[in-house]
């Protein structure tokens, strides 16, 4: 492979990986910015999306095209009562309590998933058009990865539209920037929180589904990849979702490139980059200085 095609190959894989990380982490970033809640259980929504898809197809017999939206809706419906009855209860509590609570959820979720679906990696039965590879000229790209890219673009477009053009998005931004002012203006922040939380969960589920090739579905998924999502959010900072995308691209590229050139050390490169960025800017690349 010529150097140029090698670089192009790395770029494409990095982009796909970054998009998956981005789509999953968006919800976490919104929850953190909006509710100031340290939610370590976010990965559960991602993996739940994947498993819901599998269950919808296997147990309900739905075709892939119908199962995906069904899975996303299922996860959003799961997230809503969780936020309403549990997360909101802990909103004012200490950071430690929030961490403990979300860890507890993760443990329970992992156990539940393991008992329901077994410990091994569960594969998603893809429809024909997503199974093969697409030729890019310099290499073959699995169609799944192209779909992951698509999911990322879709999320970007959706978020941009939501934030700029809808009342919900504007209220959301206001509630993140100045919570008390937002409430004084009559914005029902609890309602915005609930909707945003459900949206974040649904997007995580989308990421889980789209990224099932890169991040395979298994019960320990939420813990195994927890650091990845947290790192993207921390490095991005609580600014706009563009900052989050930049962080996902940076970290995704570093790790993918490392996988190509120094395979055993890819994780170490990922973390070193993250720690270096945070050592330089603790608030993240695009966060507000504390």
């Amino acid at each position: 492979m010529s150097p140029l095609s090698l670089l192009a190959s790395v770029a494409v894989d990095s982009l796909a990986y970054a998009m998956v990380l981005f789509v999953i982490s968006v919800g976490l970033s919104i929850t953190l910015g909006l509710m100031r809640f340290v939610n370590l259980a976010h990965g559960l929504f991602a993996v739940a999306g994947g498993y819901a898809l599998v269950a919808a197809m296997a147990r309900l017999g739905l075709p892939y095209e119908a199962a995906v939206p069904a899975a996303l809706a299922a996860v959003a419906l799961l997230a809503w009562p969780l936020e309403r009855w549990l997360y909101r209860r802990l909103a004012g509590r200490s950071e430690l309590d929030q961490v403990l609570f979300s860890i507890a959820l993760v443990f329970i979720g992992i156990a539940g998933l393991g008992l329901l679906f077994g410990n091994a990696i569960t594969a998603v039965r893809l429809p024909g058009y997503l199974q093969g590879s697409v030729s890019l000229g310099f290499r073959e790209l699995p169609a799944q990865r192209l779909a992951a890219l698509g999911a990322g673009v879709f999320t970007l477009v959706l978020l941009s539209w939501l934030m700029q053009s809808t009342r919900f998005g504007i209220e959301l931004r206001a509630a993140v920037e100045r919570p008390q002012a937002a409430q004084a203006l009559g914005i029902r922040t609890t309602r915005v929180c609930s909707l945003a939380f459900a949206l974040g969960a649904a997007l995580a589920a989308l990421g889980g589904v789209a990224g099932a090739e890169l991040l395979p579905l298994e019960p320990h998924y939420p813990l195994k990849y927890l650091v990845l999502f947290l790192a993207v959010v921390a490095v991005g900072g609580l600014g706009s979702h563009w900052g989050l995308l930049a962080a996902a691209l940076l970290l995704g590229t570093v790790e993918t490139a490392a996988k190509y050139f120094v395979p055993g050390l890819s994780s170490i490169f990922f973390f070193t980059t993250m720690l270096a960025v945070l050592a330089w800017r603790p608030q993240g690349l695009f966060g507000r200085p504390v």
């Binding site: 953190l32 100031r36 340290v38 370590l40 209860r89 802990l90 950071e95 430690l96 309590d97 961490v99 403990l100 609570f101 860890i103 507890a104 959820l105 993760v106 443990f107 329970i108 979720g109 992992i110 156990a111 539940g112 393991g114 008992l115 410990n119 019960p219 813990l223 927890l226 650091v227 947290l230 790192a231 959010v233 921390a234 055993g264 050390l265 994780s267 170490i268 973390f271 070193t272 993250m274 720690l275 945070l278 050592a279 603790p282 993240g284 504390v290």
Partner: protein
């Protein structure tokens, strides 16, 4: 000389003999445990080591208010340091403990400032990430750490030249118990000293303390460092007594379990850490045939219960009960 703040003479006399009551209770508990499971001293020793590790976490989290899910980084540092020390430098057990504590302190010193510069989610994530990086390094650096297989055959010389670390684990148990007692006593003194009072103040109202002039970063950094040394000490004990060191000593599971044990027992009281460890590991021992996933479910539910209904932990419940009984006595 003032008399208002110094306790009345009678009270002071009464204070002296009970000053070491917690240590005495711990010793009794240790003896009791030894008598309870004479055939499974390996398990009993692991309880002591777990309690020591939980104490380190209580100092950092319960007193320092630093939320960490990566204390295993310090435990593992100590374990590998002590293991490598015994394998390559010297089999002297006490020096090995020093090596472990030093390694834990060093890791804490190098990474603590990163953790303390950040807040909230970022800070927690950094603690997880540091442990993960060390885990990756240990996993890949096979020539030194043994990689996935870890270190084994860590033979430690007889303690004081007389007490051999035998197969039955007697020496190991008393060794661990004495270390635990000494560290517990030392930490209790630390907490009663001005430094400890400062930590309690920081935990309760950081803004107030800063407004009084408290050097926040310096104090918390010191707490993190000492916590790291104690965790490293626990790791070293583990390496010497079990004679193996594995990647699990750096794992997230190790950090999370210690956190659960501490929270179960109750943070910020030191003895809560020991109580929580004893209860948690005792229950796990009794339910030893349970499969890992179901055990994870049990931990999750238990943790959820504590957070929602008993945030002060078992020790908090004991203290509340005690206070209620005292009030009833006073009323009567």
């Amino acid at each position: 000389m003032n008399t208002i703040l110094m306790k009345a003479p009678a009270q002071r006399l009464r204070w002296r003999p009970t000053a070491l009551a917690p240590e005495a209770l711990l010793l009794l508990g240790g003896i009791g445990l030894y008598l309870l499971v004479p055939d499974d001293l390996g398990f009993a020793t692991r309880v002591l080591i777990g309690a020591l590790f939980a104490l380190s976490l209580d100092l950092v989290l319960g007193y320092g208010g630093i939320v960490t899910l990566g204390q295993a980084a310090l435990f593992g540092s100590g374990a590998y340091a002590a293991g490598l020390f015994a394998l390559h430098l010297s089999g002297n057990p006490l020096l090995g403990l020093v090596a472990g504590a030093a390694a834990g302190a060093a890791t804490a010193g190098l990474t603590g400032w990163l953790v303390l510069r950040s807040h909230g989610l970022t800070a927690v994530m950094i603690t997880i990430a540091v442990a993960q990086v060390l885990l990756e390094v240990a996993s890949k650096w096979r020539s030194v750490t043994g990689g996935d297989d870890g270190l084994s055959g860590i033979a430690v010389q007889p303690l004081f030249g007389r007490f051999e670390f035998d197969f039955f684990g007697h020496t190991g148990y008393w060794y661990a118990l004495v270390v635990l007692l000494l560290v517990f006593a030392a930490l209790r003194r630390l907490v009663a000293a001005p430094f400890g009072l400062t930590l309690v103040g920081l935990r309760e109202d950081r803004v107030r303390m800063v407004a009084l002039g408290c050097r926040l970063q310096r104090r918390l950094g010191t707490a993190y460092l000492i916590g790291g040394a104690v965790a490293g000490l626990a790791g070293a004990l583990s390496a010497q007594v079990t004679q193996v060191v594995g990647l699990s000593s750096l794992s997230f599971a190790q950090s999370a379990e210690a956190l659960v044990m501490l929270v179960l027992g109750g943070t910020g009281r030191l003895w809560g850490a020991i109580l929580g460890t004893a209860v948690f590991m005792g229950v796990h021992h009794l339910a030893s045939s349970i499969d890992p996933l179901r055990w994870m479910l049990v931990i999750g539910v238990m943790l959820l219960g504590v957070v929602l209904f008993m945030p002060q932990g078992l020790s908090g419940a004991v203290v509340s009960l005690w206070r209620r009984l005292q009030r009833r006595q006073e009323a009567a």
